[in-house]
Amino acid sequence: MRLKRYRAAGMAQAMAQVRAELGADALILATQRLGNGVEVTAALEPDEAPLTPLVSADPKLVAALDFHGVPALLRGELQRGDLATTLAGAFGFAALPLEERPLLIAGPPGTGKTLTVARLATRLVMSGIKPLVITADGKRAGATEQLAAFTKLLGISLVVACHPVTVGRALTRREPDTPVLIDCPGCDAYDPAQVEELSALASTANAAIVLVLAAGLDPAEAVDVARIYASAGARLLIATKLDLARRLGSILAAAGTGLALAEAGIGPGAADGLLPITPAWLAARLLSGVS
């Protein structure tokens, strides 16, 4: 802030001085009679980028955020205090709405969508619920077989659909209240036609799009992909391959676009490889294993 006092015989002259020197944006902070004249205090605040908050500088936390490559924009927020608390404030955390809507497990090729579907199905079966599993990935060689091996083991049926209409038909035929998991073909976020196809499938199935993203991606890339999926309607994020990559900056960056963190793939096991993400778990994970 630039502050200056002006003295003149009358108010009009003082104001003219203010305008001449500080311009029309000057703010009049005070005016005062002074002897047989006036004194005007005026100020101008130059436009600047907003101040970044000072880090609380817990060195361990700073080192951890460095290690994970957490984008600068998120850091200020996360360095403010206890990490579990700041994570809970900065990101959404949500359970998968399995009881409400079919889930469309989507994401770029190779992120672990099929394995995620298998794991979610396993979890449901182990808790006594038989889900309907649909693969919309009927075109890719081997994709169906991989999932079929799981559903067979679990004793549940698998619907192979190559077209949204087939998916719609399977959905109308299912028993009421059956959770539905739909395995999607890999969708290149940068190909508008593929993204359009995904949106269309989601609306046909009245499904929630869940983005499956593997850890270890470049954070800026992860943000771009997450934004595109979010604009296609995704609201939830499953982070996979946390056992294969140590840095989680990309996952936080993706969640920072507004996707709520739901699950994390942390190991190879079908039954125990997927965990619901909580702020406390994520904080512990971020702080441990920093080298």
């Binding site: 802030m1 630039r2 502050l3 200056k4 006092r5 703010l27 902070l29 005070a30 005062q32 205090t41 100020a43 605040e45 907003p50 101040l51 970044t52 908050p53 000072l54 880090v55 609380s56 500088a57 817990d58 060195p59």
Partner: protein
């Protein structure tokens, strides 16, 4: 006031009366029956001990270097009845303190604070990182300003940083060296208006302290104002602030 409160005293501009105010406020709080500690957090030019005429054997520099604990370096000011931790006078050695060491020191101070009702931090002038950090660290912030444009501008700068670091924080203003109460109120109103317009939030007024030659007299004699001139206008004004905390 709750137990273990930490209150930082900042001003941005130097020489507006922070150290004198911090000492006298510690004294006033003590006289109100509160257990007070004054921490000389001026890492550049500490002088709480000088104003009080004390010769500390240990100071903050020995604590920071790990040669003494904060408890070891805590000194009792017998005249005032409160405790102090002296800084390192005139060396400027601590102004380059690194963030990790500063955090460790603050953590120790937080623990020590539990033994007091209130801990006052006399911050150095300027807006260096350590000053900014300690302003944001304390439970409360008091910003001293005088009517001089330079002081108002610097007080505003302190408040602006505080708004970024502590969106939840509520800073309060102490107008010092006011020629009259009305003039002091005008000074506060000026700063309040600048903050409300430019920062979207305004600080509250903690109090106005009138300019009083007995302040200089007490400092020159290295004595406490409230002991030497208990009825001086500045003494009365500080006691009112102490009661309002």
């Amino acid at each position: 006031m709750t137990h273990g409160q930490t209150i930082a005293i900042a001003s941005g501009k130097g020489g507006v009366g922070k150290t004198w105010f911090a000492i006298t406020l510690a004294h006033a709080l003590t006289r109100l029956g509160r257990r007070a500690m004054l921490f000389d957090a001026d890492l550049g030019l500490a002088n709480v001990d000088i104003q009080l005429g004390l010769t500390p054997r240990l100071d903050l520099a020995t604590v920071i270097s790990g040669k003494a604990t904060l408890a070891d370096a805590t000194l009792h000011c017998a005249d005032g009845g409160f405790d102090i931790v002296a800084g390192r006078s005139g060396s400027g050695l601590l102004s380059a303190i690194d963030p990790a060491t500063l955090e460790r020191t603050l953590a120790a101070l937080q623990i020590a604070a539990a033994r007091y009702d209130v801990v006052l931090l006399d911050l150095g002038a300027g807006l260096e990182r350590a000053v900014r950090r300690m302003s944001a660290w304390a439970n409360r912030l008091l910003v001293l300003a005088t009517e001089e444009p330079t002081s108002l501008t610097d007080a505003y700068a302190v408040l602006k940083l505080y708004a970024a670091d502590r969106p939840d924080g509520k800073a309060r203003i102490v107008v010092n060296q006011a020629s009259t109460r009305t003039a002091g109120e005008r000074t506060f109103a000026t700063l309040e208006r600048a903050c409300q317009t430019f920062l979207g939030r305004a600080p509250a007024l903690a109090g106005i302290i009138r300019r009083d030659e007995r302040v200089g007299d007490a400092i020159r004699r290295q004595t406490l104002l409230l002991s030497r001139h208990p009825n001086a206008p500045a003494a009365v004004d500080i006691e009112a602030i102490a009661r309002s905390l």
